[in-house]
């Protein structure tokens, strides 16, 4: 097929990445599905057997791996129509608790890695005069919650990157946008990296953090599956004109809406009331 459109998706071993690789394959796209560890490619391999999906290893944390991965895909595909920057994970802990290494690890994947791969495919898209870059941000890119401040800040940074890159590439016909999912049933919860001090039970914020974690896990058990996000990704890539944002999930719509329209003072009071109720765990 000569006119087959091509897409590179990162973080395809599970969740949103896996579902979108499969769905885009079903929609007839030629998919280059990348993941950090080929040993974890089993589920994707199983689901994409008869689909135009190629599985490659690519670690966005590693500049060499990014260079090589991008070069291989660009050569094979002859040109890339879309890049879906999905690889990412969430750190958990109070901001005071994180070590330098923990902070940098979070940014290495969620921001620096995303940027690295984007930069690697950009010249090819620019010279072709078309292409789409879709970053998987999060409701956490618009709102911040206690206990996940580090993750939220990395997603806020992704929002800034997306907004500014979109303007920078406008004259070249390359479109940039993002999907902002709320909570979905993915491996996000299992891939969460808790701060060492929290794991050792010695955080000054221990009791509150445990409450927050418990609450978060309860919410994610009720959440819908990642195929919903995959459908939004396809919509973004197939829309005639790609919008800047595609929020997906009830929470992803309502939380930012509330933040937008509640006065700061009232918003603050609601947040601190909620947190204080969590905080009662310290005494009880």
């Amino acid at each position: 097929m000569e006119n087959q459109r091509t897409v590179l998706i990162t973080g395809c071993s599970s969740g949103i990445g896996l579902e979108s690789a499969v769905l885009m394959g079903q929609k007839g796209w030629r998919v280059f599905a990348t993941l950090r560890d080929l040993k974890k490619s089993g589920p994707l391999r199983g689901r994409s057997r008869d689909l135009p999906v190629e599985i490659l290893t690519l670690d966005v944390d590693d500049p060499k791996s990014v260079q090589k991965g991008a070069a291989v895909v660009l050569k094979k595909a002859g040109g890339l129509d879309a890049l879906v920057n999905n690889a990412g994970w969430g750190a958990f802990g109070a901001l005071e608790d994180f070590t330098d290494e923990e902070i940098k690890a979070q940014y290495e994947t969620n921001l620096f890695g995303l940027f690295r791969l984007t930069r690697a495919v950009l010249p090819a898209m620019r010279t072709r005069g078309r292409g789409r870059i879709l970053n998987i941000s999060s409701v956490a890119g618009k709102m911040t919650f206690a206990g996940v401040g580090l993750y939220c800040s990395s997603k806020h940074a992704v929002e800034a990157l997306t907004e500014s890159l979109r303007l920078e590439l406008r004259p070249f016909g390359v479109e940039v946008g993002m999907v902002e999912p709320g909570q979905f049933q993915t491996r996000f919860k299992d891939n969460r990296r808790k701060s060492q001090i929290f794991q050792s039970g010695r955080s000054p914020y221990q009791a509150v953090l445990e409450k927050i974690l418990q609450y978060g896990n309860g919410e994610s058990a009720k959440a819908p599956g990642p195929e919903v996000v995959a459908r939004t990704i396809v919509k973004a890539l197939e829309d005639q004109k790609m919008a800047l944002r595609y929020p997906v999930g009830t929470d992803a719509r309502w939380f930012p809406f509330a933040q937008r329209f509640l006065p700061d003072g009232l918003y603050d009071r609601i947040v601190s009331y909620t947190l204080a109720r969590f905080g009662e765990a310290r005494h009880g």
Binding site: K155, L161, D264, L275
Partner: protein, 290 residues
């Protein structure tokens, strides 16, 4: 105001940091004022001759340096610190495509990781005393991301988010955290800006955009507010109990905040694009270079 109050101000040898240091010291605060480069610390040494200011070498990029400086303060003041102004920071300018890994890392190392490093050392002291105020210097660039200032905006978006989280986490221990959101202020921030590795390349496909941007920022800096205006906002924040979530400085910043909050994305984008005519040129007329 309490006479024995102790403040720590980072990046205090010029601009916002220096002005706040002076204003607090004039009002009887003891101010530990940090600088990165001893060569550029003369304004602080001069201030220390006449006011209760303690110049302190500290590179927020270096964990050991931050620890050492805060330990020094804690020893001198028996653990007391009432106010932290996280001000150290700089602007990295350049198109995303022109940015090296090191450029981006350097920008985050100071503006974000450095802020976290200092806060991490100061928070235990404040938690222990059950009080304290932290003001993080954000930017209107943390509300709306502009082309060429993408990396800077990314750090300031992150600061906005970190401030919200620190605000919630600190509130459990009586520590108040807020964001100061300035726009153009008469400081050397533009002159001190660093440029992306390839920003000056002659064959840059973005050169047309660079011209637009220079015009835009020159225009913006014509409206730069005197730093005293910002100092008044900081002093007001110190009197507020509790501190507000964020403090904007100029009327037009409030307008921008309003626009960002309530205007649909596509309208904001159209408004921004109208500031950068190059944005609206059909792609066929742009040489795609390099």
């Amino acid at each position: 105001m309490d006479k024995a109050s102790v403040a720590l101000v980072t990046g205090a040898n010029s601009g916002i940091g220096l002005a706040v240091t002076r204003a607090l010291a004039e009002r009887g605060w003891k101010v530990y004022a940090t600088y990165r480069s001893a060569k550029r610390a003369q304004p602080l040494r001069d201030l220390a001759k006449i006011l209760p200011v303690v110049p302190l070498g500290m590179d927020v990029d270096q964990t050991a340096s931050v620890k050492k400086a805060v330990r020094f303060l804690a020893q001198k003041e028996k653990g007391r610190v009432d106010f932290l102004l996280n001000n150290a920071g700089f602007v990295m300018a350049g198109f995303w495509e022109d940015l090296s890994d090191e450029d981006l890392r350097a920008q985050f190392e100071t503006n974000v990781f450095g802020l976290l490093r200092v806060t991490r050392e100061v928070l235990p002291l404040m938690r222990k005393q059950g009080s304290g105020k932290i003001l993080n210097v954000g930017s209107v660039g943390g509300l709306v991301a502009l082309p060429v200032l993408g990396p800077y905006s990314a750090t300031k978006f992150a600061v906005r988010s970190l401030t919200d989280a620190l605000r919630m986490e600190g509130s459990l221990f009586g520590v108040e955290v807020s964001e100061l959101v300035p726009s153009e202020i008469q400081t050397a921030v533009a002159q001190n800006a660093r440029k992306a590795e390839k920003a000056l390349a002659k064959d840059s496909p973005y050169s047309g955009f660079t011209r637009d941007f220079e015009k835009f920022s020159l225009e913006r800096f014509k409206g730069a507010a005197p730093v005293e205006k910002l100092v008044r906002v900081v002093l007001r924040a110190l009197e507020d109990h509790p501190m507000k979530r964020r403090y904007l400085v100029k009327a037009e910043d409030h307008a921008l905040y309003f626009i960002k909050r309530f205007l649909p994305d596509f309208l904001l984008e159209a408004a921004l694009a109208s500031q950068f005519p190059w944005c609206k040129r059909p792609s066929s007329t742009i040489q795609s270079g390099r």
